[in-house]
């Protein structure tokens, strides 16, 4: 009987485990995690802190789901992998033998070597333990500073704000998330952040973190020389694959664990999926390391097939993602770059309330739709996806906007206004 061992019980590991069980009823499957007993939704950590949910609500399956499906769970930390003897050494000293190994170890928050970054009260937000730490620090925090304006940064701002803790946000770009969002969207979100009384400081960078005599943060200094008093510093400047324990194992790594399209590493019977995997050859315009929930799920599905002896490639369809910036929901389909690439142009509409917007990016030579950004309007994934896949002409898309609407019933509809605004603005060579 084969023993398949999965390190990591996140979306990638848990999805793989479920699908391996579907494909192979006999094998033994063990999932190891140092973080929690059960798979939970990392994306929901903020709602626990804000009191919308309790931690157990973030667990997508009831606790007995795992034993019912004979998925063994082990709460421990893997210290080293011996690929010759096919063994894992755990923190408790236990040694586990595997026939096949899946690395689904996720990420760790980045720290860029700032002076004072290890003081008490400085933290990232990734794991459940980070949330507990935040709970502890925030109880004695009069003001918090968040460094970095990405998706996790804005979530952290909303979390602290929900507890009435004043927040200063340092963002390097000239507007929030401007490295990903085009200028208009980025400016709109920046306005919304300020509407929620977040002290958003644009084009600001962290210089140094200062501590009091007990080693607890007391202030930060920016590159411009400002000093901001605070008792909590959230570092949300991106994440990197959590793979340091693989050193010396013979498994090839770069930023992440290097894998081919079938998510196999250089060592036979060792696979990687989710945040920690790095494609040797990036797929299309995608990043080689993809750090979102959806890609974790999709890689989990694919790697299960390969572990069970089927040959299936990770070949993701059009890119999609979503987020929520305080009250503004965001969905994106296909590619929308912060600055248009060659042969690209876009149509942009923004509602006068400054909380809804739509951008359609198209190819200027043939008019094909390339990407969609929607803010404050829900769109149908299926429709947007098929428009992009079938390279539907931008003018046809604008005509058929209604079919993509996914807002709740009775919501005010904006297609007419959008069409009017877009009229005659497409520029196709």
């Amino acid at each position: 009987m084969d023993h398949i061992v999965i390190i990591g019980n996140g979306i990638a590991g848990a999805t793989a485990a479920r699908h391996i069980r579907k494909l192979d009823n006999a094998c033994r499957i063990t999932m190891i995690s140092e973080e929690t007993d059960y798979f939970f939704s990392r994306t929901a950590l903020m709602y626990v802190f804000m009191g919308h949910m309790q931690f157990e609500h973030t667990q997508p399956y009831e606790n007995d789901f795992w034993s019912r499906n004979r998925l063994e769970l082990l709460r421990d930390r893997v210290m080293a992998v011996d690929t010759d003897r096919k063994e894992l050494r755990l923190q408790t000293g236990e040694v586990i033998r595997y026939h096949k190994l899946l690395l689904a170890t996720g990420s760790l928050p980045n720290k860029f070597g700032w002076p004072g970054q290890d003081h008490q009260g400085v933290q990232g937000l990734y794991s459940k333990q980070d949330l507990e730490l935040l709970e502890e620090y925030s109880a004695t925090t009069e003001r918090a500073v968040i460094v970095g304006g990405g998706l996790i940064g804005i979530e952290l701002a909303e979390m602290l704000h929900s507890r009435n803790i004043p927040v200063t946000m340092l963002v390097r770009e000239k507007n929030f998330w401007n490295s990903v969002l085009p200028d208009e969207e980025s400016a709109m979100i920046s306005r919304h952040i300020k509407e929620h009384h977040i002290d958003l400081r644009l084009e600001s960078e962290l210089e140094e973190i200062l501590a009091d005599s007990n080693g607890r943060v007391k202030a930060i200094k920016t590159k411009k020389g400002e000093e901001i008093e605070c008792q909590l510093v959230g570092l949300t400047v991106g994440v990197h694959p959590n793979i340091s324990f693989l050193e010396g194992s013979g498994i090839e790594t770069n930023k992440g664990v290097l894998v081919n399209r079938r998510l196999e590493t250089n060592v036979p019977d060792v696979y990687a999926a989710g945040d920690c995997a790095e494609q040797r050859q990036a797929i299309g315009e995608r990043k080689a390391v993809e750090q979102v929930w959806y890609t974790g799920r999709m890689m989990g599905e694919v790697v299960a097939q390969n572990i069970c002896g089927k040959r299936v490639e990770y070949a993701p369809d059009n890119w999609f993602n979503s987020a929520k910036f305080f009250d503004i929901e965001y969905q994106t389909y296909g590619w929308v770059w912060s600055k248009p690439k060659e042969n690209e142009a876009s149509l942009y509409w923004e509602h006068q309330d400054g909380k809804k917007a739509l951008r359609l990016v198209y190819n200027t030579t043939n008019g094909a739709l390339l990407g969609v950004n929607a803010f404050g309007i829900r769109l149908r994934h299926e429709v947007c996806d098929s428009w992009i896949r079938q390279k539907v002409h931008i003018n046809e898309v604008v005509k058929a906007l209604e079919t993509a609407n996914f807002d709740p019933e009775f919501y005010r509809r904006h297609e007419k206004a959008i069409r009017k605004h877009f009229k005659g603005r497409t520029a196709i060579a």
Binding site: T43, E132, M298, Q305, P316, R378
Partner: protein, 519 residues
């Protein structure tokens, strides 16, 4: 296990305290409530009209100011901050206290109305009930009963908390419209219209409350009172029959059971407004779902059989045989239709439906052969009726249904005990255009939808696997869709074909993979 996490509710509980205006508003509202309460302890005012106006005015103004202060000084959006930190909404001490007070109120109301001030045997009312005398005199020209007092308070609660709800969800027009609708139906159809009818010497009738929710609609005295009231009475009777046999099936086919449960019904109306702060307390456990399936089917079978028993008791031999065999044929037909529509998915639920239909059929036949006017199936019919009235009408819908809002969530009655919800739900599951569509691959499994589903449906389990939600218990409140941070859920009406999307292909991954997974 995860027990250590309890610490989370200890940090910074003070940040969820109220500001001065909110405190003032709460104080004002509570003062109004206290005025009502002290009358319950035997204090009788000399000018009831004035005091009623003052106390209700204080409650309304307090609620309005509180709601405005809470929601209007921040941008519109989902506002569930601190729900699990507040004692009242997380089964803390305040939650238990509120539950106990509400429950006591219901016990007094149903079994000891004299303590609320009801004058027995023609004696004038005192206390709380007397406070409502002027309003009752004004509307229908007679002193208040405890039911009038209750109806007025009930309506007041739906209006006041409905206003709060509207402010809370003001960005969401589905919530807005449906709340205005339940407020309208409660005030107009449940409260004012029946009282006017009585004033005009017509039978008391709440047009929107149909059988079997209105379980004595077909009782002899009820039918007779309609028949004795001329054309309008006849219209009421026919309308009531049309409601259950024509109007409601058609509307449920078109829109799902939400047209009733979340837009019209008074029980639903109170649950959605006054009960909104407690909706997340509904149990999502598998065991709760099993209990729900048993109890809802049992209650329905019982309610129908009892009505049949009562009706047959006053019909002639011939009419009675016609009714019984007509029902048997109808039930057979339903059985065949269910078998046809569910032929591809014969699961536990289908079994439960079949069992119920079979039990009904056996029941009506037994009634035919063994029931007498005094006895339904060997049990004294009068006793059976009062037992039902006690168990279902009072204990369940009132004491547990509303009294336990702060402990079990807002829709306990609708979920476990309402025969109306069961019948509409049965149709919603089998034959309706309604479904909740999930949006491709966008779900992040966060769990907001499941947490805030008042019917205890594990919405996430469908959303994260790309399935549509077609559940008999879904009342279509739309809150799962509202709280979803990724825009995954949409309540929709559409073609009944492939409504469930039981074989979903996720968008986002390679096409060939989905084929592999299906194999």
């Amino acid at each position: 296990m995860e027990k250590e996490y309890i610490s989370i509710s200890l940090a910074k509980p003070d940040t969820h305290q109220l500001d001065a205006v909110q405190k003032g508003a709460v104080a004002l509202g509570l003062t109004g409530l206290a005025l009502l309460l002290i009358t319950a302890f035997g204090v009788t005012f000399s000018n009831n009209a004035l005091w009623l106006a003052i106390s209700i005015g204080a409650i309304m103004v307090g609620a309005v100011v509180y709601a405005q202060r809470t929601y209007l000084n921040q941008p519109a959006g989902i506002r569930n901050n601190g729900v699990y930190f507040k004692s009242l909404t997380s089964r803390g001490a305040l939650g238990w206290m509120a539950g106990i007070v509400l429950t006591l109120f219901y016990i007094l109301l149903y079994w000891y109305p004299q303590y609320l001030g009801l004058g027995k045997d023609g004696a004038p009312n005192t206390g709380l009930v007397a406070l409502f005398d002027p309003l009752s005199q004004f509307l229908k020209g007679e002193p208040a009963s405890q039911w009038f007092m209750y109806g007025a308070l009930y309506t007041l609660a739906i209006l006041a908390f409905g206003f709060k709800f509207i402010l809370k969800y003001r960005h969401n027009r589905y919530q807005l419209f449906r709340t205005i609708s339940v407020m309208f139906f409660q005030l107009g159809f449940a409260f004012l219209l029946p009282e006017f009818l009585i004033r005009l010497n017509y039978p008391y009738n709440d047009f929107k409350e149909m059988w079997p929710l209105n379980y004595d609609f077909f009782d002899e005295w009820s039918v007779n009172s309609f028949l004795d009231s001329g054309n309008l009475g006849l219209f009421m009777l026919l309308f009531g029959v049309a409601m259950i046999f024509i109007i409601s099936p058609v509307l449920t086919y078109l829109y799902g059971k939400r047209w009733y449960c979340s837009w019209v019904c008074g029980c639903g109306g109170l649950a959605e407004t006054a009960g909104d702060p407690f909706r997340h307390l509904s149990s999502k456990k598998l065991s709760a779902w099993r209990l729900e399936r048993w109890s809802i089917h049992l209650v329905t079978v019982f309610a129908i059989l009892m009505t049949v028993g009562v009706v047959t008791s006053y019909l002639s031999e011939v009419a009675r045989a016609q009714l019984i065999w007509g029902l048997v044929i109808l039930l057979l037909l339903i059985g065949v239709l269910v078998a046809f529509f569910r032929r591809k998915h014969f699961n536990g639920q289908t079994r439960a439906i079949f069992l119920s239909v079979a039990a009904l059929m056996a029941g009506v036949v037994l009634i035919h052969y063994f029931a007498t006017p005094a006895k339904i199936l060997f049990v004294d019919s009068q006793k059976l009726r009062s037992a039902y009235g006690f168990a279902i009408g009072a204990a369940f819908s009132g004491v547990i249904g509303v009294g336990f809002y702060p402990l079990l969530g807002s829709r306990v009655w609708c979920r476990f005990g309402c025969p109306m919800a069961a019948i509409l739900g049965f149709q919603q599951r089998i034959f309706s255009r309604f479904r909740i569509t999930t949006n491709g691959g966008q779900c992040i499994s966060c769990g907001n939808c499941s947490t805030y589903c008042e019917m205890g449906i594990d919405v996430r389990s469908y959303a994260q696997s790309g399935q549509n939600i077609v559940r008999s218990s879904c009342v279509g409140c739309g809150i799962c869709s509202a709280v979803c941070p990724r825009g995954v859920l949409k309540l929709e009406n559409g073609s009944p074909n492939n409504r469930m999307k039981e074989d979903p292909a996720f968008i986002g991954n390679a096409d060939n993979l989905m084929e592999y997974i299906k194999k």
